[in-house]
């Protein structure tokens, strides 16, 4: 047997580690700012670029794709080389991957602050960046599969299975959800409308959590945990069972984000059923992780890395039990739109992704710098700051969530809402929001301790850019008949990859295809007409400002909601011209589905200039700049034409005269405002926003009037 000598590329691991540190601080700081804005609107820093609606997507994107993303690449590039006993397939591809990803992050940060957004959660980036993401992801894929193919290890270890699943699923999700029709370099419309757009989005959104925040981390857990604990992995059989069941079942569960919406009932029920079945496969990872620590509990006590693993894995177990629980319809009826969900995702993000990332950084850095960690004591300090941070974050969120959820639904015996004013409920939970930002600040301070510790460690060591290693060349013939079927599969990376794709495609196909092809799934409503040009422009501003980060357009079929929002619950047919859908997922402010016609134009004017004049104590940021900025009407014909391409029935005449009718409607609104003593020029953006708000959810009422 010939022993081959080669080098591991540690430099690329180091680079991704540093990017993780930098974007971790940025992402968490932006999160803290957003949290503070939720009780102190002045924290929007008085300008549109740092208003909540824009920095909330910046926070989620920075944490998911910049912080966690770089951490995943750090962990994969370190462990994959060692598990394959091979250097990465191509150094050039590694560099392209690294710099390409950082460029995407920089462009994302700038474009989100400028308000360029597709309006779809965790997929807000506009089409040029979407294409870059696809290209960089493919680069990463070629590099990864290439490394696996030229490995010097017969079998692929369980960590690699999870890496492969991550690679293929994220690619499929990203491409399908990002299909959009460009208007310009910075603006596009989703090719899907309304309910269909919502289903695609949450098929994506749910599985971004599964295949970006879960599977790569399970893979990394399977490498770094047994390494750090010096213990064998508990059960190979359990690995096989929970891997395949997890990737198969996860894909189906997306519709649980759309319970009690106008998504067809059968799709909602599939979401519930598959979420229930997800408990065990998710827990399989936790069980295998915790039982790997069996026999090493004495080490867990004084090894901070293992402590972080233990708490991180426990947080994973909690979040993945809570997830199915939240998917039960009667729990979801209370839990959706409230702070409970925010608490739930942060137990996952801060506990599972955060603590595992920290543990892996503490493991990797001293090794690639050929030294020991600068201070174990500071690692312990970090562990406690992080753990306390999670506690101070989660408990106030659960508390405020329950308060909110119950107050929204409470009726007096006479049959009126106990708390008809939405704002009163919001004001009640503000102290809990303050406590939450304290928890977040604790967690961030712990991260700063990590950075100090890592910098000190780097200073005292020297980077081993190319780490020498050796391994016997792989043997070609390995045919012994009585082998376990899965062991054979573990030697065939391409077959394995194809099989993984098949397994993840089933769930998506079964849910998406009928919703798109069977007409009865989206019953149309005759009185629902396309938006006027001005309303369409206003809708785009609504989307640009991220109004949907705080306001839903989704009245659920509950008495407490149809009474509170004074109108019918949302119907599928009302959204057929909505590219993209703007239903939202969190109700920080009241629902806006039936806002149209509820208040006079002047109310909206005053409320947008300074919300607190109309609603004393409101935490909504002011949008006075909308009354100063001119609406860009040069895009009107292009937008109408694009909508027509997507199936919105605008006539040629309407498209050609788009700006004429836009002007007429705008003048009518300013004339109306003038009656109330408000002077505003009709070309301002605010006029378009008012037009959109006054139209919203009103078409269905015409139907009722007509049929009467």
């Amino acid at each position: 047997m010939q022993i081959e000598k080669f080098n591991y590329d540690n430099k690329i691991v180091r680079d991704f580690a540093l990017a993780t540190l930098i974007f971790g601080v940025v992402g968490m700081l932006v999160g803290l700012l957003a949290a503070i804005q939720l009780y102190e609107p002045a924290a929007n820093l008085g300008n549109q670029y740092t208003s909540f609606g824009r920095i909330r997507p910046l926070h989620t994107n920075a944490i998911i794709f910049a912080f966690v993303g770089n951490a995943i690449f750090m962990g994969i590039y370190y462990s994959l080389q060692r598990l394959c006993k091979a250097r990465m397939f191509s150094d050039v591809l590694s560099r392209i991957h690294f710099w390409g990803w950082q460029l995407i992050i920089a462009l994302a940060a700038v474009s989100l602050l400028l308000g360029y957004t597709t309006g779809k959660e965790y997929a807000e980036l506009e089409w040029p960046i979407d294409i870059m993401i696809a290209l960089v992801w493919v680069t990463f894929g070629i590099n990864m599969i290439g490394t696996i193919v030229k490995r010097r290890e017969k079998q692929m270890y369980v960590a690699i299975w999870f890496y492969i699943a991550t690679l293929v699923t994220v690619a499929v999700l990203h491409i399908v959800n990002s299909l959009e029709l460009p208007i310009s370099l910075t603006k596009s419309y989703s090719i899907y409308a309304g309910v269909q757009d919502a289903l695609v989005q949450w098929w994506y959104g749910h599985n971004a959590v599964a295949f970006f925040l879960t599977t790569p981390f399970l893979g990394m857990m399977y490498y770094f945990l047994p390494k750090a604990a010096g213990r064998p992995v508990y059960s190979y059989k359990l690995s096989i069972l929970h891997f395949w069941s997890l990737i198969f079942l996860y894909i189906w569960a997306g519709p649980h984000h759309l319970l009690y919406s106008s998504l067809p009932d059968w799709a909602q029920s599939l979401g519930v059923a598959f979420s229930i079945m997800l408990i065990a496969p998710s827990w399989g990872g936790m069980v295998n992780g915790l039982l790997t620590l069996r026999g090493a509990w004495d080490k867990v006590r004084d090894e901070p890395i293992l402590k972080m693993f233990a708490v991180g894995i426990t947080a994973y177990g909690m979040a993945t039990f809570e997830g199915p629980l939240l998917s039960l319809k009667n729990v979801n009826a209370i839990a959706h739109f409230i702070d409970w969900i925010v608490g739930h995702v942060h137990v996952g993000a801060l506990g599972w992704n955060g603590l595992l990332t920290f543990a892996i950084i503490y493991w990797i850095i001293p090794r690639i710098y050929n030294t020991t960690i600068y201070s174990k004591k500071l690692m312990n300090v970090h562990f406690w700051l992080a753990t306390l941070g999670i506690v101070f974050y989660a408990i106030p969120m659960y508390w405020s969530g329950f308060t909110q959820g119950l107050m929204w639904k409470e009726f007096t015996p006479e049959g009126t809402l106990q708390y008809p004013e939405f704002l009163k409920i919001t004001l009640k939970i503000l102290p809990l929001h303050m406590l939450r930002s304290f928890g977040g600040a604790l967690y961030l301070s712990g991260f700063l301790v990590l950075i100090y510790n890592v910098v000190k460690t780097i200073r005292q060591g020297k980077l081993v850019a190319n780490e020498a290693a050796e391994a016997p060349a792989i043997e070609k013939s390995m045919g012994h008949g009585s082998e376990f079927w899965h062991a054979i599969l573990e030697r065939k990376p391409i077959t394995f990859t194809v099989l993984a794709i098949l397994v993840i495609v089933v769930g998506g196909a079964v849910e998406l295809i009928p919703t798109f092809t069977i007409k009865s799934n989206i019953p149309t409503i005759a009185s629902v007409k396309p938006y006027t040009p001005l309303e369409l422009q206003g809708r785009d501003i609504y989307q640009r400002e991220g109004c949907n980060t705080c306001h839903t357009q989704w009245i659920r079929p509950f008495r407490s909601e149809t009474e509170r929002y004074m109108g019918e619950y949302s119907k599928a047919g009302e959204f057929v011209y909505d590219h993209p859908f703007l239903w939202g997922s969190k109700r920080t402010g009241p629902d806006l589905m039936r806002i149209g016609g509820k208040y006079p134009d002047s109310w909206h004017y005053h409320h947008m200039i300074d919300p607190r004049t109309m609603s004393p104590g409101s935490i909504m940021p002011q949008y006075s700049w909308l009354a100063e900025q001119d609406l860009d009407i040069s895009t009107t014909p292009k937008k109408l034409k694009a909508m027509k391409t997507l199936g919105v029935p605008y006539t040629e005449y309407e498209i050609d005269n788009g700006n004429v009718s836009l002007k007429v409607q705008a003048d009518a609104i300013t004339a109306n405002l003038k009656k109330e003593g408000i002077v505003m020029e009709s070309q301002k953006e605010l006029v378009a926003v008012i037009a959109y708000l006054q139209r919203m959810g009103t078409d269905i009422k015409k139907q009722t009037t007509a049929s009467n």
Binding site: S79, P232, Y236, S269, L270, A273, G284, E414, T416, M566
Partner: protein, 293 residues
């Protein structure tokens, strides 16, 4: 033997699942507090099971850390079956003969409780789909909503019958009590100023301080306008967000604004209503004269 046990437990869980879906079905009629209590109950039960398991695991770990061998008894008991833990000392025999960068894997069986959980959830999921989409015994959201609204109306009617002296447009009288008027003023500030101005001078909505009324100026008419609104003109129907006494207080406050003549008052709209004694509580004493403007 194990198979029999598994089947028995599965059937038990399946019946729980049936019960659960049944609860889901009647959920809208139940108070949501009850639902929440149920959820908390389930959570506590699971937590209890976890604590029991954890206690056992800790015990095993303690035995092992003192150099003891687990299981202590040769005969496997209930807990060993559930946890499916093999003694640490037997680990070498379970090791698979490959390693990955120094990582070994054990060939431990999938724990019994894990399989139980997995197959139970699959059973629950199937029962769930059957109940709602094959046998259609469970009611889906549209039906659920109808039931909820119908039940709310029934209990509201029952409440009204029981409470007896609820204030409506027939029984409403003008209030003069300072505290009550103050209550009305508070409601006015939170709900009405948007359209009627903070002094009732009128903005989008009409001036409420003059003697001209579009829909009647006596307390009963005002009460009615508040309650049912004038949807065609943008006046909201408040009957679902205010109760009778609140609307009475509000109507009384509005009438207390008569003649205040605030600055910037909107021009009169509607018919002039002259009330000879607007502050009296006795409805018969209020003579109303309508002068066409």
């Amino acid at each position: 033997m194990n198979k029999i046990k598994l089947t028995a437990v599965l059937m038990l869980f399946a019946s729980i699942a049936m019960a659960q879906t049944a609860t889901t079905e009647s959920a809208p009629t139940m108070e949501f507090h009850t639902i929440l209590l149920g959820v908390i109950g389930i959570l506590i039960f699971v937590l209890f099971l976890l604590v029991l398991t954890l206690r056992r695991v800790l015990y095993i770990l303690k035995v092992e850390s003192q150099g003891g061998v687990y299981p202590i008894e040769v005969q496997q008991n209930f807990w060993e079956n559930i946890l499916s833990l093999k003694p640490l000392a037997a680990e070498k025999e379970l090791e698979l003969d490959h390693d990955f960068d120094g990582i070994k894997e054990l060939n431990n069986p999938i724990p019994f409780w894990f399989n139980l959980l997995f197959y139970t959830t699959i059973a629950v999921a199937f029962v769930y789909l059957l109940v709602f989409h094959v046998f259609e015994v469970g009611s889906l959201q549209g039906k659920e909503y109808e039931t909820e609204m119908a039940n709310a109306e029934i209990s509201r009617q029952e409440y009204i019958k029981k409470a007896g002296n609820l204030i409506d447009e027939n029984s409403v009288v003008l209030l003069t009590d300072k505290n009550k008027i103050h209550e009305g003023a508070e409601i006015f500030t939170s709900k009405c100023v948007v359209c009627h101005g903070d002094k009732g001078e009128g903005k989008v909505g009409p001036n409420l301080t003059d003697e001209y009324w579009l829909h009647g100026g006596d307390v009963k008419s005002i009460f009615k306008t508040i309650k049912y609104g004038v949807p065609s003109k943008g006046m909201v129907a408040w009957q679902n967000s205010m109760n009778g006494s609140q609307m009475q207080e509000l109507a009384s406050f509005i009438l207390s604004l008569q003649g205040t003549n605030p600055p910037g008052g909107k021009d009169p709209q509607g018919d002039k209503v002259v009330s000879t004694s607007p502050s009296t509580n006795d409805k018969t004493a209020t003579t109303v004269t309508i002068v066409n403007k």
